[in-house]
Amino acid sequence: MESLAKLSIRTIHEKLVHREISAVEIARMHLEHIENTDQEFHAFLTVTADMALEQAALVDEKIKEGQEIPLLAGIPCAVKDAILVKGVRCTAGSKILENYIAPYDATVIARLREQGTVLVGKTNTDEFGMGTSTENSAFGATKNPHDLTRVAGGSSGGSAAAVCSGESVFALGEDTGGSIRLPASFCGVIGLKPTYGTVSRHGIIALASSLDQVGPFARNVEDAQTVFDAISGKDPLDSTSVLYRYAPLQEDINPKKIRIGVPKEFFAEGLDSQVEKVIRDMLAILEKGGAEIHEISLPNAPYALAVYYIINTSEASANLARYDAIRYGVPAQPKEAATDEKLFHVYMNNRGEKFGPEVKRRIMLGTYALSAGYYDAYYVKAQKIRTLLKQDFDRAFEKVDVIMGPTTPFLPFKLNERTADPLSMYLADLFTVPVNLAGLPALSVPAGKVGELPVGMHIIARAFGEPLLFQAGKLIENAWNF
């Protein structure tokens, strides 16, 4: 296993093509590694060993026949348990979907299958993606592989931990307000939240439809690029997906030419001083390498978190109305004599019994924000400030190429440290939510450590600016060689 744990997708691909190792051997190594170590981290909710070995055998057959194979063929991938994989249980981290078997593939999964990617399992998530630590999963929290007393981050914490611990070469997550970038930062891996509309949301269990976007976790920026290339593009089954074809920049950028904006609002009160030091040190290294650093301002960024939680809870309350355990899922046991139980009580009981506290809290908040008399004061006002925030970004990008700052305000926190107070948990998303509100792409790249704990640099680009984003990410990856 050790021999593969640090290799890039391209290197593993070369080994496959040159028959130094078979796809089945690779799959077996990863499945064994999951079996031996996952009880420590709890990254996986379901392991799909049979499916993985079957997919791997098909790849080996193609190689044997001398066929050319795509880059992702035979490469193990873990999938957040909010993305449907045909024939496999999909829980979204919730009791209400505990026994739900997906009848079809999400478009991103269908695209990976076409490539011959090997799916090793479904990973842990906060219930319906609502959380920043996976502690809201109905099936227990995922622990940080760097320190088992701390959280892996969330909501896609299982995917981050799986890539970090070498249980998978890459993984898919879903980011509504930071759910890819935050766990990527906490676990010290690469996490990409793509531009809204570049990746299909068909077959994704929706949290907040105007914010949700699927993206990869990877060991290095090039791998994230490879996966984004494979999963992005227009999908007739998602009307919000846009006509888009990813094309990498032809030349590596000259750091002397990149203009980096550093928003003063991301270095305000609430930022851990140790995290700030790692980020400032990395910016200094980039500047020494020739990058231009400009202090900029996003004046409406301090309002982003409140705006985000109004929009998130409002859209969630509508999206989660479908979970009533009537058409699928596990119904609650009737509390009253079954004969005079009415449909209304079935809804009340099923949802009351099967949803966890954070899901109830958010549905209630959203229901309140959308209810008569409050709609204008909360939802409409939030959507207007969202416009102001987008204008802040537009103005900033007139002067700079990318924006950088810390991905999270603090280090991975201890298990149970923030569960009692919902607001303290929400604060973890402080720097990531503005990006979802504006629909922009962003990357979290490891920038250094405090003790054993990784710190991520958050890089934000213009809409559809992924090619530049990847180049900027590589600058940080290679910063130590300046």
Partner: protein
């Protein structure tokens, strides 16, 4: 802090049965978050349009052509019904 009646009303709208302990906890929790939302009162949004979507999409339409659905998928959907009679989903009466 929300009143007990307010929380009960929202819970009913949201179709979520709450225990007395949950109602008490949510009075505090929801009240706290709503208080935090008050920070937005200081933002002047006169003349600003509400943004419904970050990507500038116009109406997206496609030809209305029925797509076949395999019997196997239909079977799987039926299989997921917790209660059924034949190929019908069984639910409790409304009234």
């Amino acid at each position: 802090m929300l009143s007990k009646q307010q929380v009960e009303h929202i819970a009913k709208l949201a179709r979520i049965q709450l225990s007395p302990e949950e109602i008490e906890k949510f009075q505090k929790d929801l009240g706290g978050v709503l208080e935090y939302f008050d920070v937005l009162k200081e933002v002047d949004v006169t003349g600003i349009d509400a943004m419904m979507h970050s990507v500038d999409l116009q109406n997206v339409t496609r030809e209305d052509i029925p797509q076949p659905c395999s019997e196997k998928i239909v079977e799987q959907l039926l299989e997921a019904f917790p209660e059924k009679t034949g190929r019908y989903l069984k639910v409790k009466s409304i009234l």
